[in-house]
């Protein structure tokens, strides 16, 4: 289960709509808890993919992730997952997503169009890498 506030969820949605028709991406900073994860802050990242591939691929370079982890440690947080958008397609992970993921992290996907953000789901990889399971999002009211 991942806990996140309405405000932070809206920040992710807005990032997705702003970057449409490209995919947006970012880190989810927070803490691992007994129940799962709590997100304290989204950490937007520039999409490192070249222009042509941006529409359906995103990439966070390891250097960028290390920078994000350093930032998280300074604020006494962990990287608990990642978020990205699927422009004009459903908020479900693709085979490509599955091949490029690790368990335990949360992968939040938001479906976007030019006007608005659609579905937003969180996914967790099965420990044997066979599939993604939808993860419950507990919305914390501000």
């Amino acid at each position: 289960m991942i806990s996140i506030s309405t405000d932070l969820l809206n920040q992710i949605r807005e990032h997705g709509v702003k970057d449409y028709p490209y995919e947006c991406c970012g880190l989810l900073l927070g803490r691992f808890t007994e129940e799962g994860k709590t997100v304290k802050q989204p950490y937007p990242i520039s999409n490192a993919r070249e222009e042509s591939a941006k529409r359906n691929r995103f990439l966070i370079e390891p250097e960028e992730l290390m920078r994000g982890e350093r930032f998280a440690r300074e604020h006494n947080l962990d990287v608990v997952g990642f978020y990205h958008s699927h422009p004009d397609s459903p908020a479900v992970p693709s085979q490509y997503d599955l091949d490029h993921a690790w368990p335990t992290y949360s992968y939040i996907i938001v479906s976007t169009s030019a006007e608005r953000a659609g579905d937003l789901f969180s996914w967790e990889q099965e420990p044997d890498r066979s599939r993604f399971n939808q993860e419950e999002i507990r919305v914390i009211r501000d």
């Binding site: 995919e23 991406c25 691992f32 359906n56 691929r57 995103f58 990439l59 966070i60 370079e61 390891p62 992730l65 290390m66 962990d78 990287v79 608990v80 990642f82 990205h84 699927h86 422009p87 004009d88 397609s89 459903p90 479900v92 992970p93 693709s94 085979q95 490509y96 997503d97 091949d99 490029h100 993921a101 690790w102 368990p103 335990t104 992290y105 992968y107 420990p127 044997d128 890498r129």
Partner: protein, 484 residues
């Protein structure tokens, strides 16, 4: 050397919860091997099935990515630290978009296709792909018959058929898409009705026309895959070139007597028909099925192979007949296979193509004949009605039939002498040079060759070819003579 590996937070559960593990190793690769030997559940998250580091997993030795050093062979020193850092990649890919746009199957369709659906290689996704697919069949003859019937039965959502012929009695020995009740009907109508009967859930589009350089690109544009079921060289080159120019796969098959060929010509992925046969054979050198005959079941086998490859292309299967020419001989019952290679000098799919739009294929296939040795004089011809008139006028002439004895048994023009093509020269003395000699075969091709051979051998008399052969005689003079 003792080196310390930092385990990223999400993977600690596979390393007994530890955040740092120290191992004794000489290289970075060895350190990871030792780590994953102890904590085997970690391995699959770091390495793929081929035992190569997953492409999103980065290994840093101190502050340097080992990919920029010597990879797994990068040496380690006492006290070094290794960090495992993922680069995060992902995103919606074509598959999800495709999956979303694929048509749904009704419960009736699910029942109908159940033998497909229970195989994971097809499954719901594959069956929906078949439903979304469109295939254009050139011809509804011997090859087109099984191709159309199997594709329809398999649930290919939209099938286009191109033909301009009518169903004739001599078709029915092999063109099983048509029946006796269809004699005289347009082939596209007869084929359409048969396919509709096989599967009412699919769309069938009929194009009653000859495939030409003018309509080919327009027709091909609306289909994913083209299946070549033609029986002549101009159309075969036309289909090939139009497929290359429009980027479509060309599922090829051809048949003659007991032998068949099949391949998938797909210029983006391999050789095209012109890489295999840059130029057509001289006209008349390769007899058509009408001249040479064909075993009725042969197009059934070759056409079924074409249908098979078409379905595999739609399903995204591997092991296609790309760069492979399959040869089948029904008499000894043998399959053979040749490797094909894309020709970089191919005039249509090579590096510097000279054919950039469709050309006149009749001319192309006829032009090659000009480069072949020409008969030394012009061929004199006579029509069946004219010949009949000359006979009725009581003119002195002799008719030589150059067909084979088994054909002579089927039908003959009364008052003719049988000398099969292979023997005309050796039996030349049986032909009287002092009277006009009419030479005939079934359709006029072999008799033209016989005349050439006789002239080359020095025959001095007048030789006249019967245009259209015994077939024309039956049609225009005497319908009691059987057509075959």
């Amino acid at each position: 050397m003792p080196v310390t590996i930092t385990i990223p937070a999400p993977l600690r559960q596979f390393a007994a919860g530890q955040s740092q593990i120290t191992v004794e190793a000489n290289t970075a690769g060895e350190a990871l091997d030792l780590l994953t030997a102890t904590h085997s559940a970690l391995r699959r998250h770091l390495f793929n099935d081929q035992n190569v580091l997953r492409n999103f997993v980065n290994v840093y030795l101190n502050d340097e990515d080992i990919r920029h050093a010597s990879g797994p062979n990068t040496p380690v020193k006492d006290g070094d630290t290794i960090m495992i850092v993922p680069s995060i990649a992902g995103g919606a890919v074509i598959e999800t978009e495709v999956a979303q746009s694929l048509p749904e199957l009704s419960n009736e369709e699910i029942l109908r296709y159940s033998r497909h659906l229970i195989m994971p290689e097809v499954g719901m996704q594959g069956q929906r792909r078949l439903k979304a697919a469109s295939v254009l069949m050139i011809g509804t003859g011997g090859l087109g018959a099984p191709v159309g019937m199997y594709l329809a039965a398999a649930g290919v959502g939209r099938i286009g058929i191109v033909d301009f012929d009518v169903v004739e009695e001599s078709n029915l020995q092999r063109q099983i898409i048509h029946g006796t009740k269809d004699l005289g009907r347009r082939k596209i109508e007869s084929a359409r009705d048969r396919l509709r009967d096989i599967n009412p859930h699919i769309e069938i589009e009929t194009h009653e026309s000859r495939l030409t350089s003018h309509n080919a690109m327009r027709l091909f544009r609306n289909y994913d895959i083209i299946v070549d079921g033609t029986d002549n060289f101009p159309t075969r080159y036309l289909v090939n070139d139009a497929c290359v120019l429009s980027g479509k796969p060309n599922v090829y098959g051809s048949i003659f007597r007991f032998e068949g060929q099949a391949s998938v010509f797909w210029a983006e992925k391999g050789a095209c028909y012109r890489c295999l046969y840059p130029e057509p054979p001289p006209p008349g050198l390769v007899p058509s099925c009408a001249e040479g005959g064909v075993l009725g079941v042969l197009p059934g086998i070759v056409g079924a192979i074409q249908a098979n490859e078409t379905i595999k292309i739609i399903l995204g299967a591997e092991g296609l007949l790309i760069n492979r020419l399959l040869l089948f001989d029904a008499w000894p019952m043998k399959f053979r296979e040749f490797k094909l290679r894309k020709d970089p000098k191919c005039p249509v799919c090579g590096e510097q193509p000279t054919v950039k739009e469709l050309i006149d294929y009749e001319e192309f296939c006829g032009m090659a004949a000009h480069q072949a040795p020409q008969p030394d004089s012009k061929l004199e011809e006579i029509s069946a009605t004219e010949l009949n008139a000359r006979r009725l006028r009581g003119e002195r002439l002799q008719i030589v039939d150059v067909r084979e004895p088994h054909e002579f048994e089927i039908a003959r023009i009364p008052g003719t002498k049988l000398i099969p093509l292979g023997h005309v020269v050796s039996r030349m003395n049986e032909i009287d040079p002092d009277v006009d000699t009419i030479v005939h075969c079934k359709a006029g091709v072999r008799s033209a060759k016989a005349i050439q051979a006789l002239k080359r051998a020095g025959f001095q008399g007048r030789l006249i070819n019967l245009k259209g052969g015994i077939t024309a005689w039956s049609e225009d003079v005497d319908p009691r003579v059987a057509k075959y």
